[in-house]
Symmetry: C2
Subunit: 350 residues, 2 copies
């Protein structure tokens, strides 16, 4: 314990805070204060992968696979259930609402068409024919309108705060700062940690200043350094483990909140074991396990003493593969049910 706490303090004192930290903290403070005053529950939702830069002036980095689908989709369902959402996300990963029209096979320009005013006698600013309207094509209109209205409502009612990060270090600094801002919410606060956070990082004192040169002679044996003799040079990257911040979050940053973490594995044989390990180690409320290949169809809810699959039904009643329904529409209500149970339990005690 003393050891882990020391390594966490050391992490924050030896890595530089992101330049956006004070701005993001102030935004989170205003957001939390506003919704606390309206007795609204707040979820901090993390999404997308964190990067581990290999150079100070970063050309190369290690990344974690994540488009941010789980996070962006879940955010919409939390909003629809009345939660205010702080969306701490990897810059340029999928966002709630706009996700319906990005990263798709169709370019969003394919949804638009011109709808002429030319010839209607109206004159444009330049004295010529007016610029035609650009309208969403009829066949996409109904769905776009539904997304647009939900987006507009979230925006107008200030229910969604978008805060971006890129590196694992900026993610951890920001998570800590927001958790502290959310402490006033007590157990009305929910943490839904869907981001894919790196387990390893390059300490600043071992980071190359400039782009690592493929033809360089190695200068040191630690940190990223091209090495090897003979023809082609090899690159050896030597990474340290990121301290386990979930423990610190549960015990100190957000001791009253409900905390949900995710575990992504590729080997189905390991999933339950890894989820239970995580729950044992951090003593939080819920681990949602998922397998890379099937994560859009099924997830495993692991709590103290129980493990339960949540699966998409198919038209034939079996699980697996239903394009129409998003699994987050099942996950989020299940999480909220548990949050409400926890709130009711605490209310009964007091």
């Amino acid at each position: 314990m003393a050891d882990s706490s020391t390594s966490e303090s050391h992490y924050f004192s030896s890595n530089p805070p992101p330049p956006t930290l004070s701005q993001h903290t102030a935004q989170a403070n205003a957001f939390v204060t506003h919704h606390h005053a309206h007795s609204r529950r707040v979820v901090l939702l993390t999404s997308g992968g964190t990067t581990v830069p290999l150079e100070n002036q970063t050309v190369r980095f290690i990344d974690n696979f994540s488009a941010g689908t789980r996070g962006a989709t879940s955010a919409e369902y939390f909003l629809s259930q009345g939660y205010a959402v702080i969306f701490l996300h990897r810059q340029f990963s999928l966002l709630p609402f706009s996700r319906h029209y990005s990263h798709s096979t169709n370019c969003f320009l394919d949804f638009l068409s011109e709808w002429g005013r030319i010839g209607e006698g109206e004159e444009g600013e330049d004295g010529g024919a007016a610029t035609p309207d650009v309208v969403v094509k009829a066949k996409y209109r109904r769905e776009m309108l539904s997304v647009l209205r939900k987006y507009r409502k979230a925006k107008e009612q200030k229910l969604l705060l978008l805060l971006p990060f890129t590196t694992v270090t900026s993610y951890l600094f920001t998570l800590r700062a927001i958790a502290c801002e959310m402490r006033c919410l007590g157990n009305e606060a929910l943490f839904y940690l869907a981001a894919a956070v790196s387990d390893f990082f390059v300490p600043p004192d071992r980071m190359a200043e400039h782009k690592i040169q493929s033809g360089d002679v190695p200068e040191s044996t630690s940190g990223p350094s091209p090495g090897g003799g003979g023809g082609g040079k090899k690159l050896v990257i030597d990474l340290d483990p990121v301290p386990k911040f979930l423990k610190r979050l549960v015990e100190q940053w957000a001791p009253e909140a409900m905390i949900v973490s995710f575990k992504l594995e590729t080997d189905p044989a390991l999933l339950l074991k890894k989820c239970n390990q995580s729950l044992d180690r951090y003593a939080h409320h819920l681990v949602i396990g998922n397998i890379l290949a099937t994560r859009k169809y099924e997830v495993l809810f692991v709590e103290e003493g129980s493990a339960q699959w949540v699966r998409l039904p198919t038209s034939d009643g079996n699980s697996g593969g239903n394009e129409e329904v998003e699994i987050e529409s099942l996950i989020v209500p299940e999480v909220i049910k548990r949050h409400e149970k926890m709130l009711a339990r605490k209310a009964a005690i007091h």
Copy 2:
């Protein structure tokens, strides 16, 4: 030479081709044949960063910094100059035309508004009031219309072929295949290699099958393996150099084409030297050097016997920082001028 050729053959025989290869090759073949028949010049434009997976079922990977801005922007200028463009790009990186409305601070939903038909007496399919139109707001209309028309023209005239890649291996297999399809174009073909390609990779025989576990005991000393004694486990990643494919492209895959490569550095003191080294080593036509911090304002054209800065002018006549003009609007015409000079020279010889 024999050594490098062997390592390149070995790369292609020991790494699996991407599953999309035959489909992308067929698309490139149809595209090239069509434009060759219309005597149109074709540029193969590469864009975005390549990934290096650390696991077979990839959770973690090494990436190169690149949103794809250089490539996506350049593609629009090549199209406006009458070239047909094969856009070989990292999946989900910026695309020509849609780049104006993605990765931006504004969500594209902010550009749209409802424009009611309700109350106009028109009935919707469901018998109720008709769904309102979704229109682009007046203040964004003119610019959106201009982008939409260029996009539509490129699409209708089949001037733009979008082919995605993710890993460095799929990039290299696809580059080789398309280069061979383009050989019929002779020196009408242009290669504009703006992608940020990894110099290092993990050979398949050293790749972990499943997600590397942060708590695992190391099983081998090569490839990615968590190791180190004591408390936290370290991760050591041991990468091999990617063979230098530019040489093979210049000498064998596209011996008649004009070939332009890019060199991105962070240390200004190294830029000219690295560009000249590249030109000496591969004997192609042009290296465009750029520095990470200033790449949007200035680039260095390095050719045999000459080096020339291309810089954005500012309103006061000095270089650096002009938000209105994109530097690709200067780069692309400079490249085309050189391509035309080369075509004229070859025509004079024959």
